[in-house]
């Protein structure tokens, strides 16, 4: 298990937890359960966790696979700098967010799942991983060589099409006099 980046699994787990927290919260509010305030909190917390976890991090080794349409989320998450880059912060953030979910049955599952995600993020942080945004690669154009200063503006002079077609059969007839001079010492 040498090469594993725990953050990748933590990310999947946290995203799933966000969705579960959100669902539990919606059920609690819609059903007007006792303690529905915790459910309303869970809806907000679930949405927040999903937004935070949706953009995947760039992998340290290997190709990173983006989630569909994650670019705008990447930009938003990137602006928080070290707060989102550091996985210790994320681990403690998730641990703190999940606590109020434990006070109501509908959100307990989301709470425990998010707690597990927090633990995996802690493992990732201890191993020195951090979040890197996946940004589109800028195209670098190769510098044009010195000798190419003035590319030709016009195409080279060519005989009219009828003469060109004759070339296949007869070598003699296809020779012609160029109307324009093509040597450059004039």
């Amino acid at each position: 298990m040498g090469k594993i980046e725990w953050a990748m699994w933590a990310n999947e787990q946290a995203l799933a937890s966000g969705l579960i927290l959100l669902t539990g919260g919606i059920v609690g509010v819609a059903g007007q359960f006792r303690g529905w305030q915790f459910a309303a909190y869970a809806v907000a917390a679930g949405v927040f966790v999903c937004l935070l976890e949706y953009p995947r991090s760039k992998r340290a080794k290997g190709t990173s696979v983006e989630r569909t349409g994650q670019y705008c989320f990447t930009v938003c998450v990137k602006t928080f700098g070290p707060l989102t880059r550091n996985y210790y912060v994320r681990a403690f953030l998730h641990a703190a967010i999940c606590v109020p979910g434990g006070f109501m049955l509908a959100t307990v599952l989301g709470c425990v799942c998010l707690g597990i995600a927090s633990l995996i993020y802690l493992a990732a942080a201890i191993r020195g991983e951090h979040w890197e945004p996946i940004l589109p690669r800028k195209e670098t154009r190769k510098p044009v060589a010195q000798s190419i200063k003035n590319p030709p503006q016009n195409p080279p002079p060519r005989p009219p099409p009828e003469m060109r077609r004759k070339q296949a059969g007869d070598l003699e007839k296809s020779a012609y006099d160029n109307p324009m001079s093509v040597t450059d010492d004039e």
Partner: protein
């Protein structure tokens, strides 16, 4: 349309049957809780009761199914038995992992419905205990069974608690939480990203299914869902007595106090069979792994490919099968699948292993690959083999005309087929059903040709000798090259033998034009079934599948088979 049916018909039918059974179970068990026996339970819970019980029945069904597609020894055995009856049916067994995933998604869906319904149930049960008003039927019902603690209806026995505490103090609640957590962890670690990059995390976390099944079996143990007993229905008919609840059990009333009991747990009846089958499957794997396997030869090929030639007593294989290899000195718990590259006619079996990860790298070092001098035979590590297991390539000799497409290392199953063809046709002069093979090899680098080029060269030589050049038509496509290599190819364009492979057949550059190839084959072989076998990346699979569908006409049918690893 007809070619779609030929290619996909049986799969679609199987999926429809499975969905149909799910729908039937859902509706049937929903209706089963609308009967009189559950009348008083429904007074407390409303429709949330059947909404929880119906997905529970579907969960029983799907949890029974989920273990079956991963019993690969059983499937291999079934495949061999069905093969004689119907090749199409045998092909369906190749899609076992897809079916396993579909069933898993269905389990996740039904779990969600079940949990949401039970959230409402807990809330309603709690409501009934909290509204302590004897003029409410719900409260009267909740008070039943306070004396003997056996005939109660409401599993929440007091109002000094809350649903969360109740969940953690009941067998059903605890097992429910445990198995749901196990399920969520299994699902998140099975996402494609995790599975492809860190197989070990996926594999070890997946073993949480043991907790899942144990919890599932004990989930209904405490009989928490209770309905009126049959005896009680005689003394208290809900239609007549439900509004006279204030007089139950009193003198002069003909309604006794109703009594309730829970259903005996039924999940074990569904899952016990598959659990036993799966245990047998694991025992078979362990038994096979203890049979002695000897490495007879280790060859290091360029392009970081290691060839292991092995022998095991009583080993027999078919073309294109694969085995799982374990090397205890590298890792005691890891088994990795590799296609067999040897033919059944040879006295050893071999696998070509590409060195990509830490397991393969450690295996390479254990076999002395990094040392320059040859190793002593006794220094080679002990290995264990599970298999061989059948895959699509077994069917090759059942078709008259065959198209084999391999991309890069995906050519390995076809190495086995071509060797077998050579042995059968040329050495033993047997008559094989297959009359023509079209072989396409797509490769990104030139060195990868080396170990395979030897085989092709000897095949070419033998075929020229026996004047059978048109039995096998092979096309090698180099899909990537460097500038210097391109110059070399241009210069040697007119040479008799190909500059890369040394074969008479020239290498092509770039990717093949499949439309042309398929049209060519259609015109050469009217009125035949052409088997198309691919081992390669998914994009190539989609484009080949499309070509198969579009070129299948009334007389020529292209049947597509894909290896899945």
């Amino acid at each position: 349309m007809g070619n779609f049916v030929a290619n996909e018909g049986l799969s679609v039918f199987a999926i429809l049957v499975w969905l149909g059974i799910n729908a039937f179970l859902f509706v049937h068990f929903y209706m089963a809780f609308l009967v009189e026996r559950w009348y008083y339970t429904r007074v407390l819970l409303g429709q949330a009761l059947p909404w929880a019980r119906a997905p529970a029945a579907c969960l029983n069904f799907n949890c029974m199914l989920i273990l079956l597609p991963v019993c690969r020894n059983l499937l291999s055995f079934l495949r061999g038995t069905i093969q004689c009856c119907s090749r199409t049916a045998a092909r369906q067994l190749d899609r076992n992992l897809t079916f396993h995933k579909l069933v898993a998604y269905m389990i996740a869906f039904h779990t969600a419905v079940h949990i949401i319904a039970h959230l409402f149930n807990f809330e309603f049960f709690m409501d009934a205990q909290l509204n302590r008003n004897t003029s409410l039927l719900t409260f009267v019902l909740s008070e039943i069974g306070n004396g003997d603690n056996a005939s109660f209806l409401n599993p929440i026995r007091t109002n000094e608690t809350n649903p969360t505490i109740v969940m953690f103090t009941t067998v059903a609640g605890l097992t429910g939480v445990a198995i749901t957590l196990a399920l969520i962890l299994i699902i998140t670690s099975s996402m494609e990203v995790i599975r492809r990059s860190y197989f070990e995390v996926f594999w070890y976390t997946h073993h949480l299914f043991i907790i899942f099944f144990i919890g599932l079996v004990f989930h209904g143990y405490a009989r928490i869902v209770r309905g009126q007993t049959v005896a009680s229905l005689d003394t208290n008919k809900p239609q007549n007595c439900s509004d006279k609840f204030e007089d139950w059990g009193k003198n002069g009333s003909n309604c006794a106090v109703p009594e309730f009991a829970g259903n005996p747990p039924g999940t074990w009846k569904w899952v016990l069979g598959p659990m036993i089958l799966y245990v047998c499957e694991r025992i078979v794997r362990i038994y096979r792994s203890h049979q002695k396997v000897v490495i007879t030869k280790v060859v290091m090929h360029p392009s970081k490919t290691l060839e292991l030639q092995m022998k095991r007593k009583g080993f027999s294989m078919e073309v294109g099968q694969y085995v799982f290899i374990q090397c205890p000195s590298v890792s005691r718990l890891e088994w990795h699948p590799f296609t067999l590259t040897s033919a059944p006619e040879e006295d050893y079996f071999s696998a070509h292993i590409r060195i990509v990860g830490d397991w393969t790298q450690a295996l390479y070092e254990a076999c002395g690959g990094d040392k320059n001098e040859p190793q002593e035979a006794w220094k080679l590590p002990k290995v264990a083999i599970d298999g061989p297991f059948g895959t699509a390539s077994e069917d090759v000799f059942g078709y008259e005309v065959v198209m084999l497409v391999g991309a890069g290392i995906g050519v390995t199953p076809f190495a086995s087929i071509l060797k077998s063809v050579w042995y059968k046709r040329i050495q033993n002069n047997q008559d094989v059903f297959t009359k023509k093979i079209y072989f396409y090899w797509l490769c990104p680098e030139t060195q990868a040709f080396e170990w395979f080029a030897d085989l092709l060269q000897s095949l070419e030589g033998q075929m020229t000798e026996k004047n059978m050049m048109d039995f096998l038509s092979y096309n090698i496509y180099l899909t990537r090259w460097k500038e210097q290599e391109a110059a070399h190819f241009r210069v040697h364009h007119e040479a008799e033998n190909d500059p890369i492979t040394g074969l008479k057949q020239k290498t092509f550059y770039g990717k093949p034009n499949w439309d042309n190839e398929f049209t060519n084959i259609t015109s050469q072989h009217p009125r035949s079934k052409v088997g198309v076998f691919l081992c390669g990346p998914p994009q190539l699979a989609t484009s080949l599948e499309k070509q198969c569908m579009s070129h299948s006409a009334a007389d020529v049918k292209f049947i597509f088979n894909k290896e899945n690893f």
